[in-house]
C-alpha cells in the first residue's frame, strides 16, 4: 500500500520532470537522460505523422535512435544526425522490410521482449506477392509500415492495432479498395464491399465475432498471395475441417483437384460467401449441381437423393419443434424432448456437412439417424399431449365422483332434516 502511494506521488513528479526537461532543452542539452530526438522534433513541431506515444516499441523502451540511428544525447543537430556516426534516417520503401528485419529477423534479440516469437516475417514477405513485386522495383506494393504503420504500432491483439482482426479488412482495403491506385494490377477492388456482405463479414461486424476469418486468414499475412485453385479446399478446411475431410475423400473432390476445377468457391463464392442454403444441392433452380449434371446422370440422381433426405429430415425436425412448442405452451414437461431435439439438430448439421462427401450412403446414414431422433421427439411430445388431455379427463371423472358423493351427502342431510322435523 505504501509502495503504491509512493508511486502515485512519483508519477506526476516524473511527468513534471519530463516536461521541464523538454522545455529546458537548450540548457539541459548535455543531460544523459534527455532524448534529444523527441525533444528537438517536438520543439520544431516536426514529429512523424501518426506518432503515438503508446506505440509498442516506445512502450518497451525503444526510441527513435534504435531504428533510425543517431545520437540522442547531444543537442547538436549535425552531430546527432551524422550519417558517419550511424545515423540512418528514414528508410526508402525498398529498404523497409530489411530495416524492420534487423531486429524482427533476429531471434536472440527478439527473445528479449517475448519468449515465443516468430522471426520469419521478412523471409515470408519476400515470398509474398507484395515482396515479389517489391524486388522487381514496384514501390507501390505494401511493405511493413503500410499494414502496421510506422509510429503507431500495436500488438495484433490490441484493438488499436491496424492489424487487429476487426481493423484488418479496412487496412487491406486502404490500397486494395482504391481503384485508381490498383489500376495497374488488373485485380478487382470491390473485395471489401463484398466481404462486408458475406457470412464472415456479418459475423465480424454485426456479431462482433473476432474469430471470424478476415483477409489474412485465407491469404496469409506476411506471405500474402492469392491462393492457388487446388489449395482453396485446404484454406477453407483449416476452419471447416469436417467439410474438407468429406470433400477430400470424395471422388468428386479428387477429380476437381486433378482437373483444377474450382472447388469450394464454385458453390459458395469467395469474398461474398453467403450462408449456405439447402437449395444449393438437389435439382432445383438454385442448385449448383445442375450446372454440371444433366437429368438422368449419376450426379443428378445423387443430388436429388441427397436433397430428398435433407428435406425429409428438416420436415421431421420442424414438426418435432412445433410439437415441442405446443408442449411448452400447455405447460407440460419439455426437458427430454428438448434434449432429443438438440441431438436431431446436431444430425441435421452433420448431414449438411456430409453433403460434401457427395455419397448417398454416408448422407443417408446420418440423415436417417436425425429422422429417427426427430420421430422419437414427436412421439415424446405426443405422450406429453396425451398426458395433458388425460389430466382433463381425470378431472372430469373426479368431478363426477365428487358430485355423486356430494349429492349423497346432500340427500342424507335432507333426509335427516325431514326425519327431525317429523320427530
Amino acid at each position: 500500500m505504501k509502495l503504491k502511494l509512493n508511486l502515485f506521488l512519483a508519477l506526476p513528479a516524473l511527468f513534471l520532470l519530463f516536461n521541464l526537461q523538454a522545455n529546458a532543452f537548450s540548457t539541459a542539452s548535455q543531460d544523459s537522460t534527455v532524448d534529444n530526438c523527441i525533444a528537438c522534433h517536438q520543439d520544431n513541431d516536426n514529429m512523424p505523422d501518426n506518432y503515438n506515444p503508446e506505440d509498442i516499441h516506445y512502450k518497451v523502451g525503444l526510441s527513435c535512435f534504435n531504428c533510425h540511428g543517431g545520437n540522442p544525447k547531444t543537442e547538436d543537430e549535425d552531430a546527432a544526425m551524422d550519417p558517419d556516426k550511424g545515423f540512418l534516417g528514414a528508410p526508402s520503401k525498398e529498404e523497409i522490410p530489411a530495416f524492420c528485419g534487423r531486429c524482427h529477423s533476429d531471434f536472440a534479440f527478439m527473445q528479449q521482449y517475448r519468449s515465443e516469437v516468430e522471426t520469419d516475417q521478412e523471409s515470408q514477405y519476400y515470398t509474398s506477392q507484395h515482396g515479389t513485386l517489391l524486388k522487381k522495383g514496384d514501390t507501390k506494393v505494401a511493405v511493413c509500415s503500410n499494414c502496421h504503420t510506422a509510429h503507431s504500432i500495436f500488438s495484433p491483439n490490441d484493438p488499436r492495432s491496424s492489424v487487429y482482426p476487426a481493423n484488418l479488412p479496412e487496412t487491406c482495403n486502404a490500397c486494395h479498395g482504391d481503384a485508381e491506385y490498383m489500376k495497374d494490377y488488373s485485380i478487382p477492388t470491390n473485395q471489401y464491399k463484398l466481404y462486408k456482405t458475406s457470412v464472415h463479414g456479418i459475423d465480424l461486424y454485426e456479431k462482433h465475432d473476432m474469430s471470424a476469418p478476415v483477409c489474412n486468414d485465407c491469404h496469409g499475412n506476411h506471405g500474402a498471395r492469392p491462393p492457388e485453385l487446388n489449395s482453396i479446399p485446404r484454406i477453407c478446411g483449416s476452419c471447416h475441417v469436417k467439410n474438407l475431410n468429406y470433400f477430400s475423400s470424395s471422388p468428386m473432390g479428387k477429380e476437381m483437384e486433378e482437373e483444377e476445377i474450382h472447388t469450394c468457391e464454385t458453390c459458395h463464392g469467395y469474398h461474398d460467401i453467403q450462408k449456405a442454403s439447402d437449395d444449393f444441392i438437389g435439382t432445383g433452380e438454385k442448385s449448383f449441381c445442375i450446372e454440371c449434371h444433366d437429368e438422368g446422370d449419376e450426379g443428378y440422381i445423387t443430388a436429388a437423393f441427397i436433397k430428398s433426405r435433407i428435406d425429409t429430415l428438416k420436415l421431421k425436425y420442424s414438426t418435432a419443434s412445433d410439437d415441442m412448442n405446443n408442449v411448452i405452451i400447455k405447460g407440460m414437461d419439455d426437458i427430454d424432448i428438448s434434449f432429443k431435439l438438440k441431438e436431431a439438430r446436431q444430425k441435421l448439421i452433420e448431414t449438411r456437412t456430409a453433403i460434401h462427401s457427395f455419397d448417398t450412403s454416408q448422407v443417408n446414414t446420418i440423415a436417417s439417424q436425425g429422422i429417427k431422433l426427430s420421430n422419437e421427439a414427436i412421439g415424446m411430445a405426443q405422450k406429453e399431449m396425451d398426458e395433458y388431455y388425460n389430466r382433463r379427463t381425470g378431472f372430469i371423472y373426479s368431478s363426477i365422483a365428487l358430485l355423486i358423493l356430494g349429492l349423497a351427502l346432500y340427500l342424507k342431510i335432507r333426509t335427516k332434516n325431514g326425519k327431525d322435523k317429523k320427530a
Binding site: F395, I413, K416
Partner: protein, 360 residues
C-alpha cells in the same frame, strides 16, 4: 338409524377402553342454527386444508431433497417425472394459501361475533397462535423450491426480522444459519417446515380443537335473546359433521380445479450471485406488512422507520391475541362499538395495504 355406538368395532373398543368420554365430546355439542351459521364452518374448512397439507406434504417428502444443488432439481423432478407429482405439489401450494385465507376468515368471523369472550379466551389465543404458525409455515415452505423469487424474498424477509432491536441480528443469524441466505438456510427452513413447525402446530391444534369441543359453539347476542322455543340447534355429530363433509368436498373440488388449471410456476433456480429480480414480493398474506414497512419514512423521530414498523406489528399481534383479556371500564355497549370499529379498521388496513402492495 344406525349410530356410531351400534357398530361392532365401536362396541369392541368401548367394552375394553370405555370411550364414553370421546362420545360425550362428540355428542354433547349442539350447533346453533341462525343466519350466521355459515361462519361456524370456516374453522372446519381450515382444518380440512391443514389435513390436505399434511397428506400432500408427506408425499412430497418422499421425493424432495433439500440442498442447494438438489432442492430445485427435486421439485422439478416431482412436477415433471413423478406420477401425479404435479398434482400433489400444486395441491400443497394451493391448499397452503387457501388454509391461511380461511384461517383469516375464521379469525375475523370469531372476532366480529365476539366469540372470543368468556369462556373462549384460550380458544382465541390458540387460534391466533395457529394463524401465526401457519404464516411461518408458509414463509419456510416458500424457500424450499429454491427458486430466484423465493431466495430473494427470504433474504428480504429475514432482513426484516433482523430489524428487531437488540435480538434482531441474532434472530436473523439463527434463521439464516449464517450471515447470508445459503444452503444452510435451506436446510434450516426444511427442518422448521417438516419437523419443528408440524410438532408445534399439532400440539396447539389439539388444544384448540379440544377447547372448541369442550366449550361448544358460541351463540351470537341476537340468538341468545331468542326464547328457547325459537332457538334452533343441530347436533355436532352427525348433523353438523355431515354438512362439514359436504363443504370439504366442495373445497376439495375447488382445490383440484385450481391445481389443474392454475399451476404454480417452478421459476428460475436461485443463484446467489445473480442480481435480485425486479418486483420481489412476499406471499400475499405478508403483503400488508411488507407494504406498510415500505411506506414508512426512514426515520420516525429517534427510531428508524423499519424498526418502528417491526415493533408495531409485533405489539399489534400480541395485543390482538390478548384481546379477550382487555377490560373496558365503560359500558358494554361502548366496548362492542370499539371492537367493531377496531376490527373494521384492521380489515380495511390489511385489505388496502395488500391491494396497494400488488398495484405499486
Amino acid at each position: 338409524m344406525k349410530t356410531l355406538e351400534d357398530s361392532k368395532i365401536f362396541s369392541w373398543l368401548h367394552s375394553r377402553y370405555d370411550l364414553s368420554g370421546i362420545l360425550h365430546l362428540l355428542y354433547h355439542k349442539k350447533v346453533p342454527v341462525h343466519k350466521h351459521t355459515i361462519w361456524y364452518y370456516m374453522g372446519g374448512v381450515t382444518l380440512f386444508l391443514f389435513l390436505i397439507q399434511l397428506l400432500t406434504g408427506i408425499l412430497l417428502l418422499m421425493y424432495y431433497q433439500p440442498g442447494e444443488n438438489s432442492s430445485y432439481e427435486s421439485v422439478r423432478f416431482i412436477v415433471n417425472k413423478v406420477n401425479f407429482g404435479w398434482l400433489i405439489r400444486n395441491l400443497h401450494s394451493w391448499s397452503a394459501n387457501l388454509m391461511i385465507f380461511f384461517a383469516f376468515v375464521h379469525m375475523f368471523s370469531v372476532f366480529f361475533t365476539r366469540a372470543y369472550e368468556k369462556p373462549r379466551e384460550l380458544t382465541w389465543v390458540t387460534g391466533v397462535l395457529l394463524l401465526v404458525l401457519a404464516m411461518v409455515f408458509g414463509f419456510s415452505g416458500y424457500l424450499l423450491p429454491w427458486n430466484e423469487l423465493s431466495f430473494f424474498a427470504t433474504k428480504v424477509g429475514t432482513d426484516i426480522a433482523g430489524a428487531v432491536p437488540v435480538i434482531g441480528e441474532g434472530i436473523r443469524t439463527v434463521l439464516r444459519g449464517g450471515e447470508d441466505v445459503t444452503g444452510a438456510t435451506l436446510s434450516r427452513f426444511f427442518g422448521f417446515h417438516v419437523a419443528i413447525l408440524p410438532a408445534l402446530f399439532t400440539i396447539v391444534l389439539v388444544v384448540h380443537l379440544f377447547l372448541v369441543q369442550k366449550v361448544g359453539m358460541s351463540e351470537p347476542d341476537f340468538f341468545k335473546k331468542l326464547p328457547d322455543e325459537k332457538k334452533k340447534f343441530i347436533s355436532f355429530f352427525p348433523d353438523f359433521a355431515i354438512r362439514d363433509a359436504l363443504l370439504w368436498l366442495i373445497v376439495l373440488y375447488l382445490l383440484i380445479f385450481l391445481a389443474l388449471f392454475f399451476q404454480w410456476d417452478l421459476g428460475i433456480k436461485a443463484d446467489a450471485l445473480s442480481p435480485a429480480p425486479t418486483g420481489i414480493k412476499p406471499e400475499w398474506y405478508f403483503m400488508f406488512m411488507f407494504q406498510s414497512l415500505k411506506m414508512l419514512p426512514p426515520h420516525l423521530g429517534f427510531i428508524e422507520g423499519e424498526v418502528f414498523g417491526v415493533l408495531f406489528f409485533g405489539a399489534a399481534a400480541l395485543a390482538w391475541m390478548l384481546i379477550p383479556f382487555v377490560k373496558f371500564n365503560s359500558k358494554k355497549y361502548t366496548k362492542e362499538r370499539i371492537m367493531l370499529v377496531l376490527g373494521t379498521l384492521v380489515v380495511l388496513f390489511i385489505v388496502s395495504m395488500t391491494i396497494i402492495g400488488y398495484l405499486l
